[in-house]
């Protein structure tokens, strides 16, 4: 009986040895891509309007407050009601360590905020600091971006 028990244990050991996958991925926030600085508005507190990839390895997501998002998702003309707030965050890209074939945000390269009928602001550096001056052409470019379809 003892022998049978020992034998069965041995067989179970043989067929049941299944090491778990190695821990190569740990729960981690992408801290370097966070937006830090004294901004007049945090674009990432809004909702996504659209996104694009720039030549030269940066990626941008355009966010808006409720007024901006609601307008962008039902109009194609970019004629936002006065006061609607939009913000574009542009990140440097890095290879996604968890997916060969993907690029994800690294450090923030710039943040731009435009208020319909109001000012355009640009922030750069770490922590982000306002860059003096305005850029009407760029403000118009941001206002003209169509919303990405989200059915």
């Amino acid at each position: 009986m003892k022998q049978l028990f020992a034998a069965i244990s041995f067989v179970l050991l043989l067929s049941g040895c299944s090491p778990n996958p190695p821990k190569t991925v740990y729960p981690q926030l992408n801290r370097e891509a966070e937006v830090h600085g004294g901004l007049s508005w945090n674009p990432r507190s809004g909702r996504v309007i659209t996104s694009w990839i720039n030549p030269g390895g940066t990626m941008t997501t355009l966010y808006g407050d409720d007024m901006a998002v609601n307008y962008a998702r039902s109009h194609a003309d970019g004629a936002y009601p006065a006061g609607a707030k939009l913000g574009a965050v542009t990140w440097k890209q890095q290879e996604d360590a968890r997916w060969f074939g993907g690029r994800i945000p690294a450090q923030v390269a710039s943040v731009e905020i435009v208020v319909a009928g109001g000012p355009y602001e640009r922030y750069e550096g770490s922590p982000l600091a306002a860059v003096p001056g305005s850029d009407a052409e760029r403000a118009q470019f941001l206002l003209q971006q169509r919303a990405a379809v989200m059915p």
């Binding site: 022998q3 996958p21 990432r44 968890r98 993907g102 994800i104």
Partner: protein, 320 residues
């Protein structure tokens, strides 16, 4: 003396049991190779050596794998492996699908989930070497000949016009918001588009760009730094669009491709790693798959990040 007799006795019993086990030896068929993966010879060579034992119809088992009970385990692994990815038949699928599978393969190797750790424990020389991995990566980094023309901008335009025209009405009152749940019963949540941003990806492997969004429970977990075991009620949405070149070296958001949901409920979805999985494709949001087995694709692709609660995305905080 007693000890000696015990050992001899155990040995005999082991031999008897071992011998008896060989009687049960279900056959492992080798169906014909109908369409081998299309790839350069140097790539195929690596696949043949490292992957074909389980992922092709050309399985060659060493003698010790032919002995029960190891044989039973290996046979099960081979049958399951072929079902998920079979390099002997995948050549019949579109080139993009074949490349997509190779990207997934490279990722499972890089993240240590392939070859199966239990297989590697016995077959110590079966692993992909760094040089071989570099060869596979280099092949995939080289863009393929432009086979399919990029999706016409007019398709994206039509889709956009239809979408903005249907907006501005209260959610749920429009007939086109009655989207079917997934085959596994996971519901479509139209409010996903109003969730907060978590991250974004430029997926050059399949020419899409993606936004990862999260509901309030997900956002609170990120703010609290509790992302090792996402709380029940967490929902992620991953929205994908085709990449649309702007003609000036940049890429804009093209046609909407799909939205995927991961809904955490450790009890309700206990049998699928604690998550309810769903994917809705096209602007008519057709549930993906043809039956509930579609979710095996989700789970096996997320297996390499099992220690990360099956979540790939590293969230960017500060979206409250």
């Amino acid at each position: 003396m007693t000890r000696m007799r015990f050992l001899t006795g155990t040995g005999i019993v082991l031999l008897l049991i071992g011998g008896a086990m060989q009687a049960y030896h279900p056959k492992l068929e080798s169906p014909p190779v109908t369409a081998e993966i299309q790839a350069p010879e140097e790539v195929r060579q690596i696949l043949r050596q490292r992957c074909y034992s389980c992922h092709s119809n050309e399985t060659k088992l060493p003698w010790y794998d032919n002995l029960a009970p190891a044989y039973w385990v290996v046979r099960g692994d081979v049958l399951e492996g072929r079902e998920h990815l079979n390099f002997s038949t995948i050549g019949a699928k579109p080139e993009a699908v074949q490349r997509g599978m190779l990207f997934e393969s490279v990722n499972t190797v890089q993240l240590g989930s392939m070859p199966l750790p239990r297989y590697l424990a016995v077959h110590r020389d079966a692993g992909v070497t760094p040089d071989e991995l570099a060869t596979l990566r280099h092949y995939l980094e080289t863009p393929p000949a432009p086979a399919a023309a990029p999706a016409p901008a007019t398709a994206a335009e039509t889709q956009f016009q239809h979408w903005i025209a249907s907006n501005g009405k209260p959610m749920g009152t429009r007939p086109d918001t009655q989207v079917q749940p997934e085959w596994n019963g996971v519901p479509f949540l139209p409010e996903y588009k109003n969730w907060k941003p978590i991250s974004s990806t430029d997926r050059w492997d399949n020419h899409t760009m993606r936004q990862i969004l999260g509901n309030d429970i997900a956002l609170k977990a990120i703010a609290d730094g509790k992302i090792d075991n996402w709380p029940d009620g967490t929902v992620f949405a991953k929205v994908a669009w085709l990449q649309q070149p702007d003609g000036k070296g940049g890429i804009t958001t093209g046609a909407f491709q799909q939205v995927e949901l991961m809904i955490k409920d450790s009890k309700k979805y206990a049998s699928t790693e604690g998550w309810g999985w769903g994917r809705w494709r096209g602007d008519d949001l057709k549930p993906y798959g043809k039956d509930a087995a579609f979710q095996n694709e989700c789970i096996s692709c997320h297996e390499p990040v099992a220690h990360n609660d099956h979540v790939y995305t590293a969230p960017i905080g500060g979206a409250q």
